[in-house]
């Protein structure tokens, strides 16, 4: 697996996949996509980088512990539901805010925040598993 071609291509591939994962995350509300799939794509890019550059490099590149990323995701998702407390609505009610940006109408919402939480949870969990498995391979 550790060929020169793969090692050269991997960083570019990872960058494209990460951008694509964010794209999938953001188009999720009205079209197929969302935090879960986006997170899976991002996690697989992390796994590819792990195979190409080694687990140590990935951990350095990630900056944060993958489990902590997952915890952050759960926190964000649970927090997204509590915003509706200020609107006298029950937990997890979708709150929407619209604003203009360069002539286009942009919609921000708590479901999006929730989806970002899901994205980070999936990314953190799956990359923890993937990195643990790759670490075991490296030791052999």
């Amino acid at each position: 697996m550790n060929t020169v071609i793969f090692r050269t291509i991997a960083p570019i591939l990872v960058a494209i996949m990460l951008v694509f994962s964010v794209f999938v995350l953001l188009r999720g509300h009205n079209e197929p996509g969302g935090g879960f799939i986006g997170g899976l794509i991002a996690a697989s890019s992390i796994a590819i980088y792990g195979i190409a550059a080694g687990v140590k490099e990935v951990r350095k590149a990630l900056k944060f512990d993958p489990i902590a990323i997952a915890g952050f995701g759960v926190f964000i998702a649970a927090f997204a539901g509590t915003i509706s407390i200020f609107y006298q609505a029950p937990y997890l009610t979708g709150i929407w805010a619209y604003f203009e940006f360069e002539g286009k109408k942009i919609a921000l919402s708590t479901p999006l925040l929730f989806d970002i939480g899901v994205y980070f949870t999936v990314l953190g969990t799956i990359s923890t598993i993937a990195l643990a498995l790759e670490e075991k391979e490296e030791k052999k």
Binding site: G71, F72, G73, V74, G81, Q88, A89, P90, L92, T93
Partner: protein, 542 residues
């Protein structure tokens, strides 16, 4: 044109959303679960910061306790409370519906979790804190509170799984070989139990087209009997397995003695009780017809569980395994309440669950202290603890009396209610089983007490010589372990001497379980006469 007319008719339909404002007080229904969940997430982010973990955990649990006391008082004054997520109308959104039955157990669990957190500080290894003990504990608490408060069957399943994942993490924490062994049995059988629950959920959805508990309870009255009975049987199997009732109890004595004593206390106090809670909730409130059909089976299981479990405890030489069997005996008492569903029976079962949460946790905590002083888990190698720590001997004896149901401790009152209830119905066999269980539990417990505390030294020729292997507790252990355990036991003694509060709570809980009107009203659903049950097969042919 026709399409357009259809379209206009559809638009005029009322939107299935709540149109009234949700007050801040209603948020108390969901806050305990969210705080525990967010706390768990926060602590996993901070897992390398060891010193802040216990402080934050205790702050979170204290907040949860304060909120739950407020909620309890509110429910006492105003009746069951409900909140449906995402502003959807009840059967469409997921409801959290809390009545006295749910909130009192949630409160007892939060209290137990607080005491276990303090207890665990004494000898939690650095590695275990880093591994996420506090985070998993809060996650477990989130699962337990969610399960006690949710008003939706599928959501109950989700909270069961949250609990299961957290308990997986806790049971293998430390990674000794014996824990791997216990975790495998625990994991497989509990996973299987939740899968059975999921089968029942699939059938419930197929039969009623809804998963909201209040909605099902309305529709169950005129549902076809056959499918309903099989759903009831599946639920009995699934929750019976979770609660460790005979004959699906084998996983409990195989696993509960393997982890850290604090974890054992948490599991013994919380996990099986959620199983019994779900059993009472689903078979009494949601589907009473299914329970009526299963009554002879439940009674038989109750009798066998009541008698066999303490016999198992007598035969054990491992201290915490013996306590595991005593715990199973208590599940039998709850099943008696399910078999005689009059006011006293159900109140007795509810109070028994409350008693069991506190008492079994305390028993495991004391067992942890005993093992710490003795340096062994084997009762045969113990002895002479009375001279070393007479305080501990009093605590253990109080707990043995409480578990056996001897007055004046907390365990006596639910047993009295259960016996009265069985007398009302003329179920002599159940009374005999309850009394035999008390006698056998007292024998098993007092034998343990005699072996650990009374005799001078370990078993064998020199059992009358003083035991020299005793390691006195360090001052840190004394304060961090003994003090919270004592507070828990004082609580048990207080409720035993002063049972009026819990009698009142138990009565309201039983009334609401036996008559679902107030529960359904709180959810905001229509009265039964408006609901028609679709005939089976009609939809399938479409």
């Amino acid at each position: 044109m026709e399409e357009k007319a259809n379209y206009e008719a559809a638009v005029k339909l009322p939107v299935a959303m709540i149109d009234f404002a949700t007050g801040f007080a209603d948020w108390f229904i969901i806050l305990p679960t969210i705080i525990a969940l967010m706390g768990a997430a926060l602590l996993i982010m901070l897992r390398f910061n060891r010193s802040i973990q216990p402080i934050l955990t205790i702050i979170f649990i204290l907040t949860i306790i304060i909120i739950e006391i407020n909620l309890l008082l509110r429910i006492l004054a105003l009746g069951p409370q409900s909140m449906t997520m995402g502003k959807w109308l009840p059967p469409f959104g997921i409801s959290f519906t809390v009545d006295i039955f749910g909130i009192s157990f949630a409160l007892a669990s939060a209290l137990t979790a607080l005491i276990v957190t303090i207890y665990a500080q004494a000898d939690l290894a650095k590695r275990e804190v880093k591994y996420g003990f506090h985070s998993l504990l809060l996650l477990l608490l989130a699962g337990v509170s969610g399960a006690f408060m949710t008003g939706d069957m599928f959501n109950l399943y989700v909270w069961f799984e949250v609990m299961l994942i957290a308990s997986f993490g806790l049971i293998i924490m430390g990674g000794r070989k014996i824990q791997l062994d216990g975790a495998i049995k625990y994991g497989f059988l509990n996973f299987l139990a939740t899968s059975f629950f999921l089968i029942a959920l699939g059938l419930i959805y197929g039969l009623f087209g809804t998963l909201n508990m209040a909605d099902i309870s309305l529709k169950a009255a005129n549902a076809p009997f056959g499918p309903l009975a099989s759903i009831g049987a599946l639920l009995l199997l699934a929750f019976g397995m979770k609660a460790a009732a005979f004959p699906v109890n084998a996983w409990l004595p195989a696993s509960y003695h393997t982890p850290h004593p604090a974890v054992s206390a948490l599991f013994g106090g919380l996990l099986t009780k959620v199983g019994t809670y779900a059993l009472l909730r689903s078979l009494l409130l949601v589907m009473p017809t299914a329970r009526d059909f299963l009554e002879p089976l439940i009674a038989a299981l109750a009798v066998i569980t009541l008698i066999l479990a303490p016999l198992g405890a007598i035969a054990q030489t491992n201290l915490r395994r013996a306590i595991g069997f005593l715990l199973i005996g208590g599940i039998g008492s709850v099943l008696v309440g399910l078999a005689v569903p009059n006011l006293r029976g159900v109140a007795g079962a509810s109070i028994y669950i409350f008693h069991s949460i506190l008492t079994i946790s305390a028993l495991y905590l004391v067992a942890g202290l005993i093992e710490k002083i003795m340096g062994t888990e084997d009762v045969r190698k113990m002895g002479g603890l009375y001279s070393a720590s007479s305080w501990l001997s009093i605590l253990f004896l109080v707990l043995v009396f409480a578990v056996a149901g001897l007055p004046p401790f907390l365990g006596f009152w639910p047993k009295l209610l259960l016996i009265e209830a069985s007398l009302e119905r003329g179920e002599i066999l159940l009374i005999i089983a309850l009394l035999t269980n008390s006698l056998l539990t007292a024998i098993a417990g007092s034998r343990l007490w005699a072996h650990i505390f009374w005799r001078a030294g370990p078993e064998g020729a020199n059992s009358e010589q003083p035991n020299e292997k005793l390691q006195p507790l360090k001052t840190k252990d004394k304060w961090l372990c003994s003090a919270p355990t004592t507070i828990l036991i004082l609580l048990i003694v207080y409720f035993g001497i002063n049972p009026n509060t819990i009698f009142g709570l138990g009565r309201v809980a039983a009334l609401d379980l036996l008559n679902s009107d107030r529960y359904v009203e709180a959810t905001g659903l229509a009265k039964p006469d408006l609901v028609t049950m679709p005939q089976l097969g009609e939809e399938g042919e479409k």
